[in-house]
């Protein structure tokens, strides 16, 4: 009997959940709600079964709690194997609470696939590039963000227990959902000696008392009790290991930076993604989506790393300035300088160890939650750093009242707290503040997915041609070869060249009946200057700059077919032939 009741409760619970997220997942995907982790997986599978020829779905690895991290690869096999094309990588939700990043990734996939063959611009990038998309990096975080009570900012880290308060116990005193509403909001207590009083313009807000004024409230922080009886409340919640401080480049230990993890790539999912990406050396562009603030950040993440090479800055500037227009109000910034220093960043890893241009996209500006247009599109560094002023909060509450019908703010309500006595609980709910209301989601994901497509259009597009075949005396031929890149990104990043991360692109001249007598780079055409390579002249190493060219001259003897080939880790492979008679 007990068992029957138990099953009944379970089935009721499941029904309850499915009422909230009731729609069937079909392609084209809908973006009028947020996807749970399970729904993200279902959506990826739906995209794959709708476009089996253009997509591949893979298990990249597993999280600490055993959830699978999936990647969707979009590639047109008719135009070549994935590794032969400039790769675009986009991921999201490395911080568990930053869920709309996952929707941007799903939307990107949905946009590319449902418009392939319909819109020329989309068809071109799908044919020329390969897209690697991991919508949810922190799969445990997304799961727990949906399923557990949270603030908009909690459940960010990986599920690796850490003894935050150094008492020998791990994760023993998290916040508690005292009022059972599924959110962790705030606690306040009436106290004439408190430093806060009710905002006269908006009774749901509090303001600091001025000298001579009578206090009214004391703020008691996040909803919770002293679970471990150590006199502190909520001092050791889940984690904290931050997936985006755990990467293997310029990592620093936790005493230097909280949340680094005990060693680089200690997160099982993080390590799996690192290994997976390193097997895809064709990735030249990386987007990691986060929330919030409305920013596109490039590295370096710490000042001591020094500035990037000028050639790379030029590429970032070109992309960044255009992205600022695609996503109005968003700012293109430098991570350490304009935000704060971080060690072990994902994008530092990809920029330096994968040789990819890398952006962090910080999605959503809370200023767009506007009732009368105030604050719309206003972002500057001070507002990003300093949080919200009361003026802004009042505006947001009007937005909550008139556009979200009260969905975003939990009204203050009395509660009897075991340690604090009579208190009130209330404040912004978890699905607020850093997340757009679903009615605004479509605009956010379309614009930010468009930045990815724009970057894809800027990946290197190298053509190879033989510009001259001149017969000289003594059976010698002079062959000139030009590699031209019509797009903004070079075929190898300048950082890669500087660090000698991997070999440069290779130009080879060969043929069964011919011998390369000499060969070298044409460093100047007018007047002509050629830098001959003393050894192995038939093989040359190069970088093809963005919107530019490199040219080589070869002196060749013999007869027959001569093959010139170009091989690049990021810009694919090209071949041309000429017959020497």
């Amino acid at each position: 009997m007990k068992r029957v009741i138990f099953l009944l409760i379970i089935s009721l619970a499941v029904t309850g959940m499915s009422e909230i997220y009731a729609q069937e997942i079909k392609v084209p995907l809908r973006f009028d709600h947020y996807y749970t982790y399970e729904q993200v997986v279902e959506a990826l599978k739906a995209l794959h079964s709708a476009y089996p020829a253009l997509t591949g779905i893979e298990e990249v690895g597993k999280s600490e709690e055993g959830r699978i991290i999936y990647a969707l690869t979009i590639n047109n096999p008719k135009t070549g194997e994935p590794l032969s094309k400039p790769g675009i990588y986009a991921d999201g939700n490395i911080h568990g609470n930053e869920i709309q990043a996952g929707e941007v990734c799903l939307y990107l996939a949905n946009r590319l696939l449902t418009n392939y063959g319909k819109l020329d611009d989309i068809t071109q990038v799908v044919d020329r590039n390969v897209f690697y998309i991991i919508p949810v990096v922190n799969v445990d975080g997304r799961f727990h963000f949906f399923n557990d009570p949270n603030t908009p900012s909690t459940n960010r880290g990986l599920r690796i227990p850490v003894d935050d308060d150094r008492d020998g116990l791990f994760d023993e005193d998290p916040p508690d959902d005292l009022d059972g509403d599924g959110n962790i909001t705030s606690m306040r207590k009436r106290d004439p000696h408190g430093r806060l009083r009710t905002d006269p313009e908006e009774p749901r807000l509090m303001i600091a008392v001025k000298p001579g004024e009578q206090g009214e409230w004391i703020s008691l922080g996040q909803e919770g009790i002293d679970n471990d009886g150590d006199g502190l409340v909520n001092e050791d919640s889940e984690g904290y290991v931050d997936g985006n401080r755990n990467w293997g480049y310029n990592w620093a230990p936790p005493y230097v930076q909280n949340g680094s993890g005990l060693y680089p790539l200690s997160g099982t999912g993080i390590r799996a993604i690192a290994d997976w990406m390193l097997k895809r050396p064709n990735i030249i562009m990386v987007f990691a989506f986060h929330n919030s603030g409305g920013m596109y950040l490039r590295g370096p993440s710490v000042k001591s790393a020094g500035e990037l090479p000028p050639g790379d800055i030029a590429v970032y500037d070109h992309l960044g300035r255009n992205i600022e227009k695609i996503v109005p109000g968003y700012k293109y910034l430098i991570s350490w300088k304009d935000l704060y220093a971080t060690y072990g960043d994902f994008t530092d890893f990809t920029n330096n160890l994968l040789g990819s241009y890398s952006f962090v996209g910080e999605l959503y500006q809370v200023g767009t939650e506007t009732f009368d247009g105030t604050f719309l599109g206003q972002t500057d560094r001070s507002s990003i750093m300093a949080g919200d002023s009361n003026e802004r909060e009042r505006e947001r509450l009007k937005f909550n009242d008139h556009l979200a019908q009260g969905e975003l703010f939990r009204e203050w309500a009395p509660y009897k707290h075991p340690e604090y006595g009579d208190i009130e609980i209330g404040g912004w709910v978890k699905m607020s503040t850093r997340l757009p209301h679903p009615f605004m989601l479509q605009d956010l994901i379309h614009r930010n997915a468009s930045t990815v497509i724009y970057a894809a259009q800027n990946t290197p597009d190298v053509s190879l041609e033989i510009t001259e075949t001149t017969r000289l005396s003594g059976g010698l031929y002079r062959i000139r070869v030009r590699l031209h890149n019509r797009n903004a990104m070079p075929s190898v990043t300048y950082m890669t060249v500087k660090n000698r991360l991997y070999p440069l692109d290779i130009v080879t001249v060969k043929g069964s009946g011919v011998k390369v007598v000499s060969g070298g780079k044409i460093v100047n055409l007018y007047p002509e200057k050629i830098e001959y390579k003393e050894f192995r002249p038939g093989i040359q190493f190069c970088q093809v700059p963005g919107s530019g060219k490199v040219e080589y001259q070869f002196l060749v003897s013999g007869k027959g077919r001569l093959e010139v080939s170009y091989e690049s880790a990021k810009a694919g492979t090209k071949k041309v032939e000429v017959t020497l008679k």
Binding site: D167, G168, Q222, P253, V256, L262, T342, L504
Partner: protein
């Protein structure tokens, strides 16, 4: 391409015939006695079999080349988990005697239960089997890499231009070739050795020196991209060197290192690490002096941060001052910690040993030197290597926060300088001299002394005596000045001192097998050449006959060392009645080990788990103090008093438990109430 291939084919035929004729292994330097990787793993299992259950063997991981890396867990089962010592051997793979040391240490522990009744030992004797296996391979060469492919010359092929055993003796040595741009000349007094020509003295170089081999890939370079791989002992996450052919792509990219890191963090009972390798912290304690280490007592605040937060950027602050200043600026409920400040100000990681820790390093180093003296060890050996960036030794100290000691077991002894006329004056004796003492030395002796110290030519005895006589300088000042000058250089004309010692050792102890005499060779691209030089491994690998006595000498000191581990005890526990059922509980905790709990670095990095003192009893109410009290540190041979105020209405027994993963456990019972 065509030409090169035929040359190579010719060489292979030549080598094959030579190999047959010369019965290769016999001629290669003394491997006799050392076990190859498979042999080491068999010996590990033999230790387990003989141990009567004291030893468990775990597979830590598999090396890049496919050899199991085994870990011996040695210890008696006990009710409370014991502290542990992590011992690693031969992580660089190029020091066979250190694998023997770790293995022998494990054997000694496994056969003496008293060494592991209160201490667990985790021993990894062979940390880098692939590099180690080169000692047993032909041709013989030395490289710390684990065979992971790496494109050293950044061309179109990987590992395509390694050494070639051109003279077919099974040993990779050197080639010398006469060349107009040569910079080397033979040492006149020992023509087997080479030295750099001193152009400032009008000398012209004769030879260029190459390692033995051909230009396999035809790019004009010799042996620039052979089978190397990642040096396991450069792949740890402290001061990791990026974009270096030997260190790997990122820290932990070599699983030999990565799995060791993972293991260590999974075992918070590890209270000490010992590395048998290339460094020797007993002889040369970890060195400081790196740029970039941040002194938490003198933090400079960057201007932009200072302005925004109201700090005076013209002075420095302590970490504590900054934390106190920042805390009130934060929203309620948020507490600041050092890591947040350090990260915000970009202070970075600690890169120099903490001063407090150098105290115990220097003390133990002194004891070790005394111990060697007492065992009659004579002669002055060459210094060990400095700890490398990305090495286990550094990582374990800075990241685990435990004391780390290392031993290299053996090094060549310095040659005794021939006694020439010596002044008998040292900087120390000079320091203590009076004006009169100095004058009494006489001009000849002072001239000799100045020459010995390599003083510039204008400093004649007459001139210096004048300075001192007139009171312009004291002998003490002169000594201080001389200390600032570089130590007198070895006589370069005579050759490199270590090479001379190596050669002497080869001649006297190895029957000359440590050096291959130069022999002419017709090189396919370099022309007339000579091949010869030191046999790899012969300078850092003692003949196996020496190994037992070396280990009998050095390993017992490890057992002395672990006696110094911190050990926490409850020395006193009492209840003082305050009336109306209120009691003050006083508990004294003592660290009766010499070493601190934890190290100063462990205090900084907050990795060592705190000791926890719990008070349990029925019907007890805490008026002040907590049921669980963490104790984060206690210096060696120091005590601390903890107090609680409790209320107990009925008679009750109070159980006081002390639990520390790294420093032992203890308990007491006292009666209160009633």
């Amino acid at each position: 391409m065509q030409i090169k291939r035929s040359v190579r084919r010719g060489l292979i035929c030549l080598l094959a015939s030579l190999a047959l004729a010369m019965l290769l292994p016999g001629t290669v330097s003394a491997q006799g006695g050392y076990s190859d990787p498979a042999g080491i793993n068999r010996r590990i299992d033999q230790i387990r079999q003989k141990s009567g259950g004291l030893v468990k063997v775990h597979k830590l991981t598999v090396s890049h080349g496919g050899t199991d890396i085994l870990l011996l867990e040695i210890g008696k089962k006990s009710d409370v988990p014991n502290p542990a010592v992590l011992v690693v051997g031969n992580l660089s793979g190029i020091s066979p005697v250190t694998t023997e040391a770790a293995l022998s240490l494990a054997g000694r522990i496994a056969s003496d239960a008293s060494l592991c009744s209160q201490l667990t030992w985790y021993v990894v004797p062979m940390g880098n089997p692939d590099a180690y296996s080169r000692y047993f391979s032909t041709p013989l060469y030395m490289d710390p890499g684990n065979h992971a492919p790496h494109n050293d010359d950044m061309d179109d092929q990987v590992d395509e231009d390694g050494f070639n055993d051109l003279d077919g003796n099974g040993i990779i040595t050197m080639m010398r070739v006469k060349s107009p741009d040569g910079i080397w000349v033979p040492v006149a007094s020992e023509p087997r050795l080479m030295r750099r020509a001193d152009a400032s003295k009008g000398e012209k170089g004769i030879y260029k020196i190459y390692s033995e081999g051909i230009d396999d890939d035809g790019d004009g370079q010799y042996n620039e991209d052979g089978t190397g791989g990642t040096d396991v002992n450069a792949n740890f996450p402290h001061l990791f060197k990026y974009f270096d052919a030997k260190s790997g792509l990122f820290p932990g990219s070599a699983r030999e290192a990565g799995e060791l890191v993972k293991f260590a963090f999974a075992h918070p009972e590890i209270a000490m690490a010992v590395s048998f390798g290339r460094t020797n912290f007993f002889l040369v304690p970890p060195k400081g002096g790196r740029k970039g280490s941040v002194d938490y007592d003198n933090i400079t605040i960057p201007e932009e941060v200072g302005k925004a937060m109201g700090f005076d950027v013209s002075r420095t602050y302590t970490m504590q001052e900054i934390m106190e200043a920042v805390q009130p600026m934060l929203p309620p409920g948020m507490t600041i910690d050092e890591g947040m400040i350090a990260s915000y100000l970009g202070l970075g990681a600690v890169v120099n040993p903490m001063q407090e820790d150098l105290v115990f390093y220097n003390k133990i180093s002194g004891e070790y030197r005394d111990y060697l003296k007492s065992r009659g060890v004579a002669g002055e050996r060459f210094d060990p290597e400095d700890a490398k960036e990305g090495s286990f030794e550094m990582w374990a100290y800075y990241h685990l926060g435990v004391p780390v000691f290392s031993m290299d077991i053996w090094a060549l002894n310095k040659l005794q300088e021939e006694k020439k006329e010596s002044s008998g004056i040292t900087l120390e004796s000079l320091e203590k001299m009076t004006k009169e003492d100095f004058a009494a030395l006489g001009e000849d002796k002072i001239n000799t002394f100045l020459k010995e110290r390599g003083a510039p030519a204008q400093y004649t005895a007459k001139m210096v005596m004048g300075l001192i006589n007139s009171g312009q300088a004291t002998p003490g000042q002169m000594a201080a000045m001389m200390k600032q000058m570089p130590a007198p250089a070895a006589d370069e004309q005579k050759g490199d001192p270590m090479e001379l010692a190596h050669l002497a050792f080869s001649d006297s102890q190895l029957g000359g097998k440590g050096f291959v005499n130069w022999k002419p060779f017709k090189h396919p691209t370099l022309g007339e050449a000579e091949i010869g030089g030191f046999v790899p491994w012969s300078g850092n690998t003692p003949p196996f006959t020496m190994v037992d006595s070396l280990l009998d000498l050095h390993l017992p000191f490890i057992f002395e060392l672990v006696k110094k581990l911190p050990k926490l005890h409850i020395t006193e526990a009492k209840a003082i009645e305050k009336g109306s059922g209120v009691y003050q509980i006083e508990v004294w905790i003592e660290n009766n080990g010499y070493l601190p709990f934890p190290t100063a670095m462990g205090k900084r990095n907050k990795i060592p788990a705190p000791a926890v003192i719990t008070l349990e009893g029925t019907g007890i109410e805490f008026l002040s103090g907590l049921k669980r009290t963490p104790l984060h540190d206690l210096a060696g041979n120091k005590s601390v008093k903890l107090t609680w105020l409790v209320k107990a209405d009925k008679r009750s027994t109070l159980n006081i438990n002390l639990i520390s993963k790294q420093a032992g456990s203890d308990s007491r019972q006292i009666n209160i109430g009633g």
